[in-house]
Structure formats: structure tokens, C-alpha cells
């Protein structure tokens, strides 16, 4: 049952699977993002309170969700590399970092642009915004630590440890709107069974969320292949792989 897990520890297997998955992820992502964007911009009715400005949610919420998901992936993959010494864990962690950081930046920028018309300010030091900004700094810290070591394997392990230490921030971001009085609104979609949004607004959002996740998968597969090649440059299987 666990053979697929063991196979993922093998660099040539990961290289091949990533190559095969990329076009699927990319195509499905394009469809989901395409539908979500069009439906969100055109077909979803304007919000009662926020008017057309609420449409920013279609890029802001998926970006924010992905920033948390990517960091958690990075920490888990790094942990797998650290604890079980599976090198592919470090490859996934290293590949995920720049993607997650870019989405964190996207979340912060779109959130800021949304805040201006809604709250009257581009920025507020409220718990969710602050902890998301801290998340960006944590990404930068991890990405700076890895190349600082002469021995890349040591750099991987140090970066993995740091990302695990920082993962405490992720639940803080998520629950900040629950734990503190925050400017930022609470959960809209997470209430299972009775979301606070009507269907015509909800479906494009879910589609964008799915689309961003699939996009993340596609880009991750491309980057992981690069990481695998960089780490396994001396291996014999690489000879065949790069000839094509």
C-alpha cells in the first residue's frame, strides 16, 4: 500500500511523474482560472455593501489560502527530509518556497488594494494582515538560509528546521480573525453546509481556489524537476533524462 510513498523517494521517479503531471495540472488550472475569472468578473452579481470591489476576492482569497498551503507543504516536505532523510522532501521544500512567497505578496497587495475602498486605508496593523506579513518574512528567511551554507545538504536541513519552527504562524494567521477583534472579515466559505455567499458568487470563488491550487501543482512540478536535476547531477539516470 505504501509503495507509492517509497517510489516518491526515488529521484528518477519523481522526475518522471512531475513531467507527466505538469500538462494535466496546467490545462485544468487554465480551465478553472478561466472560468473563475470570467464568471467572477461578469456573471457574479455585485455585492450589496461593497459593490463591484468585492470581486477582488476572486484573486485575494485564493492567493491567501495558497500562501498558507504552500508554507505548510514546505514545512512538511522539509520535515520529511529532515526526519526520514528523504532527499526529495528537501527538493519539494526548496521548489515550493518561491511560489509560496509570491502568493503571499499577491495576497498582501490585493488585500491592500481592497482595503483602501473598504476600510479607507491601504494598510492596518490588525492581526491577520500583520501575521500574513510575518509569513512573508518567514519565507524570505527560509529562502535566505538555504544558500548560505557551503554544503547544500546542510543548507536543506537548516532551512527545513527553520520552516518547521515558523509553521506555528500558520494557525495563528488562520484563527486570528476568530481570536481577536479584527478589521478583516471572518470565514465565509469554511462554514460547511451553509456558506455565507450565494451560489453565483461562490462557484467562481471555488473555481479560482481550485485553479490556483492546480496552478501551484503545475509550477511545483516544473521547479521540482529543476531541483532534482540540480541535486542529482552526478547520477547515471540523469544522462538519459537530459538527452531527450
Amino acid at each position: 500500500m505504501w509503495t507509492w510513498f517509497y517510489k516518491l523517494a526515488s529521484p528518477p521517479y519523481v522526475f518522471g511523474v512531475a513531467a507527466a503531471l505538469t500538462p494535466w495540472f496546467a490545462a485544468l488550472a487554465a480551465l478553472a482560472i478561466g472560468y473563475g475569472t470570467v464568471a467572477g468578473l461578469v456573471f457574479a452579481p455585485p455585492d450589496y455593501q461593497q459593490g463591484d470591489a468585492f470581486r477582488i476576492i476572486y484573486v485575494h482569497a485564493p492567493a491567501a489560502w495558497l500562501s498558507l498551503f504552500a508554507y505548510t507543504t514546505m514545512a512538511v516536505a522539509g520535515g520529511i527530509g529532515l526526519i526520514w532523510r528523504i532527499k526529495m522532501g528537501h527538493a519539494v521544500a526548496a521548489a515550493t518556497a518561491p511560489i509560496g512567497a509570491s502568493f503571499t505578496l499577491l495576497a498582501l497587495v490585493t488585500g491592500s488594494l481592497w482595503g483602501r475602498p473598504m476600510w479607507g486605508t491601504y494598510w492596518a496593523w490588525d492581526p491577520r494582515l500583520t501575521s500574513e506579513l510575518i509569513l512573508l518574512f518567514l519565507y524570505v528567511g527560509v529562502m535566505s538560509l538555504r544558500p548560505a551554507f557551503e554544503d547544500p545538504a546542510r543548507g536543506d536541513r537548516a532551512a527545513a528546521l527553520l520552516s518547521i519552527v515558523g509553521v506555528v504562524n500558520v494557525p495563528i494567521i488562520h484563527y486570528s480573525v476568530l481570536w481577536w477583534n479584527s478589521l478583516h472579515q471572518g470565514a465565509t466559505v469554511a462554514k460547511i453546509g451553509k456558506p455565507a455567499m450565494p451560489g453565483s458568487m461562490l462557484w467562481p470563488l471555488l473555481s479560482m481556489l481550485l485553479g490556483f491550487m492546480l496552478f501551484y501543482g503545475a509550477v511545483l512540478c516544473i521547479r521540482v524537476r529543476g531541483e532534482v536535476l540540480n541535486r542529482e547531477r552526478q547520477a547515471t539516470w540523469v544522462r538519459e533524462a537530459v538527452k531527450s
Binding site: 463591484d52 475602498p117 509550477v219 524537476r225 547531477r233
Partner: protein
């Protein structure tokens, strides 16, 4: 009617930069990842070419 779409109920200068930046981030991710893979490939090819002289 199209102008109503572009003006986004008056919020155009917030909504469109958001979507624009989102598009830019998506494009950057793809471009940067492909570049990373290409550079890694070239480094691997070069390493193999250098090693080919020693091993048969």
C-alpha cells in the same frame, strides 16, 4: 454597457490592478520555473560533458 464593466462600479482603479498583479504573479511563476528547469538542465548537460572525458 461595456463601460460599466470596465469602470467596475467606480472601483476600477482597485479591481483591475488586483487582477493585473495576479496575472503578473502567475506569469512570473511559470516563467521563473521554466527558466530554473532550463538552467538546471544545462548545468547537468555540462557536468555530463565534462565527466564524459573521464568515464567511458
Amino acid at each position: 454597457m461595456m463601460s460599466a464593466f470596465w469602470s467596475m462600479g467606480g472601483y476600477a482603479r482597485y479591481v483591475w490592478p488586483c487582477f493585473g498583479f495576479a496575472g503578473a504573479v502567475l506569469i512570473w511563476n511559470l516563467w521563473s520555473a521554466c527558466g530554473y528547469l532550463a538552467a538546471a538542465r544545462m548545468r547537468a548537460v555540462r557536468a555530463l560533458a565534462m565527466g564524459a572525458g573521464e568515464n567511458v
